[in-house]
Amino acid sequence: MKRLLQAVLVLLLVSLALFVMLRIVPGNPVAVLMGEHANEATIERLTAELGLDQPIHVQFFRYLGGAIRGDFGTSYSLGKPVSQLMGAAFVNTLLLALAAALFAWIVGGLCGLLAAIRKNSIPDRLFMGFSLLGISMPVFMVAMILQYVFGYWLHWLPISGVSDWRSFILPAIALGWNSAGSIARLVRSTLADTLEDDYIDTARAKGLSETAVIWRHALRNTMLPTVTMMALQLSGLLSGAVITETVFSINGIGRLAVQAINGRDIPLLQGTVLFATALVIFGNLIADLLYKVLDPRTRREVKE
C-alpha cells in the first residue's frame, strides 16, 4: 500500500514538473500548429480556444481532472484523443518490448550460463566478447546492420514497418541486444561466484549430477539480481524504444513522443511521458514483489 501511494506521488510530481517545464520553455505551440501563414489574430483565438491563455495552475488542475478520468486531452497535431493514439501505439510497443525482452533473457541468460559453466574457456571468452559488443554498440547501429544483412542483403525479413509477426524480429533483436549483453555478464559473474560456494561443493559431494547442481542449487541463487535486472529492463524497453521504433518505422509510444516533441504537441507529450513514467514505476514495483517471492529473507525482514 505504501509503495502504491509512493508511486502515485511520483506520478503526480512528474506530471507537475513536466507541465511547468513545457509551459516555461519559449515558443507558442499554437504558432507551430498554425504554420508560417497564420496571423496574430488567428494564433490568439486558437490559444484561447485551447485554454493556453489560462493561468498555469488552472491549466494543470484541468489537466489533472481529465487525466484521472482517463482523458489526456486531444493531440494538437493529430487531432485525435491522446488516449486513443497511445492505445493504438502501445500494442506495438508492448509486442516489441516483450519480443526484445524474450530475446534478451533467452540469449543473454544462455550465454551467461554457458560462459559460467565453462569459465575461462574459449566459449566463455567468445560469449563475453559478444556481450561486451552488446553493451557497447548503440541501438541504431545494431538496427542498421540487421536491416542491411537480413533485410537488404539476404531478403529474409522486412526492413521496416509492421505487417505481421516477422516485422518484429529485427527490431526485437536490435532493442534487446544491449539488454542481452548486460544479462549475459550478470548471469556469468553471479553464477561463476555461486559455483565456487561451499554449499555447491556439498551438493556435489552428495553425488548430485552437475545438471542438478546448476539448475537446482546454483541458478536459484543467481536469479535474485537477474530477475531484478530483467524487470527493470522490461520497463526500460517499454518506455525507451524511441530509436528502434524510428529506425524500423514502428508506430509505437516512442515515435509518438518524438512526434510530440517536434510539433510541440503538449497533450501528446504529457501523455507519452506520463505513460513511460508509469511503466518505470510499475517495473520497479514488480521487481520488488519478485524479490520477495524469490528471497524469503526479504519477507522475514519486513515482518520483523
Partner: protein, 531 residues
C-alpha cells in the same frame, strides 16, 4: 541427445525459421500499385488546417484551376472551371463550371459547393484564409458576422461570380493552390480531415485508409472524369529514418523515393551512379535567403547590409554543399515564378569590397556583432550553409554567431520582430510574385512579423498595391522595380540559392513529373507505371 546436439538443433531451428520468413518477405507488389514514403506523418487531410500536407488535397480534390508543368513551364490551366471572364476593372470574375462532374460519393458538383469551400476556409479561420479574404465580405464571414460570402453569387448550378475587394491579377493562380480545393457541401461531417470516409472529392483518387504514423492509402476514384491513370493504388509509408528509406528503395520495397533527406554522399555514391538514368529533378521554386533586421543597431546601416551581400560566396555553397544541385538566386521573385527577372544584378562575391564598405562606414574589425538564427526544423545542409555564411562574414570583419532555435521558439522570436537575422527558406504556394513579395514586404505588420522591420513605408504600400495592377506587363515592371529597390539599393534581403529537389524512380515507374514548385507532394496521375 547430448547437450551439444541439443544446442545445434536449437540453432538450426532458429535459422530455418528465419529462412522460412525470408520466403514471404517483400511480396506485396501488385499491378497498378505505387509505393512511396514520407519522413513524417501528415497532421490532417483537411486542407483548411495545413500549409504542408498537400498530397491528399492535391489528389482527392480538384480546384477551379491547376498549375501544371507544360513544355517545362508552369502554367495555370482550367480544371473544374471551363470558362471565365474578368470585368474591366479586374474586380469581378464570372466562372462556368464543367458539366457532369460528380464527387466520389455520386453527388453532383455545383456552384454552391464552390461557394461553401470558400466560406468554410473563413469560418474555420485557420491557416488558409488569405485567398477567400480577398472576396467582398470575406472579413465579415471570418468575424462570424455572417456565414454567407457577400461577394460570391451563385447564378445556377454551373455559373457563379466572385467579386474581389481589390483587383488581383494573380487571382487565378491563387485559385490553383491546393488550399482552394473544392469540397462537397452535402457530405461534410465533423470527421473531415481525420476520417478517410469523410474525404469526398472530385479528384482521381479516394483515401481508403490512414493509420497514424504508419501509412495512408489512396485508390483510383472510379467516378473520376479524366483519363484513367496507370497508378490504381498508392501507399504512402511513414518512414522517419532516411537510411531505412534508402535500403527499402534499393530492396524494391519503394517505387519512388524522395531524396530530400538523404545524405548528399549517398546521393552521389549510390543514386547518381547506380540509378543515374532514373533520377528525376525539379527546382524547389522558392529560395534560401538571409533576412536582416533593420531595427538592429548595425544592420540598419545599408553599407553593413551590402557588405554582408558581398561577403558570401554563394557559388561555393552550391558546389560544396549541394554538389551543384542548386541554382543561384539574385532577387526576391524566384526562378520559375511569373515575373522573375533574369537580368537582376544580385550581390557579387567580393570580400575586399565587403571589407572596404565596412571600413568606409567607420566600423572596426569585430565591432559589428549579431546573431544568425536558424530554425532547427531546417535541413542539415541549410544549417551547414548558415555556419559557412557566419564564417565568411567573420573573415571580413563581422562578429557573428549561428544560433539554432527550436521551431516553436524560432517562430516566437521572429514574430516578435527582434531576431537580428536569420537564414530561412521559402517555397512558393502559387505562381505569382505576390506570394513572396506581399508575405515579406506587403504591410508593416508583415515586415515586423518576419523580423525585417523594413522602414520604407512607401515601398511597402507599393508592394501591397502591386497585385491590383491588372495589366500583366505593367505589374511585372512594378514588381521588378520594387525588387531592384529592395535588393540593389536597400540590400534589405540577401537572396542565396534555390536547391534542386531530387527523386529516384524504381524500375516499375516509367516516368514521373514533379509538382511545378518541386513540392514533396505530387499529382499521382503524373506517375506512369510500366505495369
Amino acid at each position: 541427445m547430448t547437450k551439444r546436439y541439443r544446442l545445434l538443433s536449437f540453432a538450426a531451428l532458429v535459422l530455418a525459421a528465419v529462412m522460412i520468413c525470408g520466403c514471404f518477405a517483400g511480396a506485396d507488389e501488385e499491378k497498378g500499385l505505387l509505393r512511396t514514403a514520407i519522413n513524417y506523418d501528415i497532421t490532417t487531410m483537411d486542407v483548411a488546417k495545413t500549409t504542408d500536407d498537400y498530397m491528399i488535397p492535391m489528389n482527392v480534390f480538384d480546384r477551379l484551376f491547376e498549375t501544371r508543368v507544360q513544355d517545362g513551364n508552369a502554367v495555370v490551366v482550367p480544371s473544374l472551371c471551363t470558362e471565365y471572364k474578368v470585368s474591366e476593372d479586374g474586380l469581378t470574375y464570372e466562372f462556368t463550371l464543367m458539366d457532369g462532374v460528380v464527387f466520389s460519393n455520386g453527388n453532383a458538383l455545383t456552384a454552391s459547393d464552390v461557394q461553401y469551400s470558400f466560406e468554410r476556409l473563413l469560418i474555420l479561420a485557420n491557416q488558409n484564409t488569405d485567398i477567400p479574404l480577398e472576396v467582398v465580405g470575406g472579413q465579415d464571414v471570418m468575424d462570424k458576422k455572417t456565414e454567407t460570402l457577400e461577394g460570391f453569387k451563385v447564378a445556377d448550378d454551373t455559373h457563379f461570380t466572385i467579386t474581389l475587394s481589390a483587383p488581383n491579377a494573380g487571382f487565378l493562380a491563387e485559385l490553383s493552390s491546393p488550399v482552394m480545393s473544392i469540397v462537397d457541401k452535402e457530405s461534410m461531417t465533423d470527421g473531415f480531415g481525420t476520417d478517410p470516409a469523410a474525404m469526398i472529392g472530385t479528384g482521381p483518387y479516394i483515401v481508403t485508409e490512414w493509420v497514424a504514423n504508419d501509412h495512408y492509402t489512396m485508390v483510383y476514384n472510379e467516378k473520376y472524369r479524366g483519363p484513367e491513370p496507370t497508378v490504381k493504388k498508392i501507399i504512402v509509408k511513414v518512414i522517419a529514418d532516411a537510411n531505412t528509406q534508402n535500403l527499402m528503395f534499393q530492396n524494391g520495397e519503394l517505387d519512388l523515393i524522395d531524396l530530400k533527406n538523404q545524405d548528399s554522399a549517398i546521393i552521389q555514391s549510390v543514386y547518381k551512379t547506380q540509378y543515374a538514368d532514373r533520377m528525376v529533378s525539379a527546382p524547389n521554386v522558392g529560395m534560401i535567403f538571409i533576412a536582416l533586421n533593420e531595427n538592429n543597431e548595425f544592420l540598419k546601416d545599408v553599407s553593413v547590409r551590402k557588405a554582408i551581400g558581398a561577403a558570401i560566396d554563394v557559388d561555393t555553397i552550391i558546389t560544396a554543399l549541394y554538389n551543384g544541385d542548386a541554382i543561384r538566386e539574385n532577387g526576391i521573385i524566384p526562378t520559375g515564378v511569373w515575373g522573375h527577372n533574369d537580368n537582376l544584378q544580385g550581390f557579387t562575391y567580393d570580400p575586399e569590397t565587403a571589407k572596404k564598405l565596412l571600413a568606409d562606414a567607420g566600423y572596426t574589425d569585430g565591432q559589428i556583432s549579431f546573431e544568425i538564427a536558424v530554425d532547427n526544423a531546417l535541413s542539415s545542409t541549410v544549417k551547414t550553409a548558415a555556419e559557412y555564411i557566419s564564417q565568411s562574414l567573420n573573415k571580413v570583419g563581422f562578429n557573428t554567431t549561428v544560433k539554432n532555435y527550436d521551431h516553436a521558439a524560432y517562430l516566437d522570436v521572429r514574430r516578435s520582430g527582434t531576431m537580428d537575422s536569420f537564414v530561412a527558406s521559402w517555397g512558393m504556394d502559387y505562381n505569382d510574385p505576390a506570394n513572396i513579395m506581399v508575405t515579406f514586404f506587403g504591410s508593416e505588420a508583415n515586415v515586423k512579423a518576419r523580423s525585417l522591420n523594413y522602414p520604407d513605408t512607401a515601398i511597402i504600400a507599393r508592394v501591397a498595391s502591386a497585385p491590383a495592377i491588372v495589366d500583366d506587363e505593367a505589374r511585372k515592371a512594378e514588381y521588378q522595380a520594387l525588387e531592384q529597390k529592395i535588393i540593389s539599393e536597400d540590400a534589405a534581403w540577401i537572396p542565396l540559392y534555390a536547391s534542386m529537389h531530387l527523386w529516384c524512380r524504381g524500375p516499375r515507374v516509367a516516368s514521373f513529373t514533379p509538382q511545378w514548385a518541386g513540392f514533396t507532394d505530387f499529382y499521382v496521375t503524373d506517375v506512369v507505371l510500366n505495369d
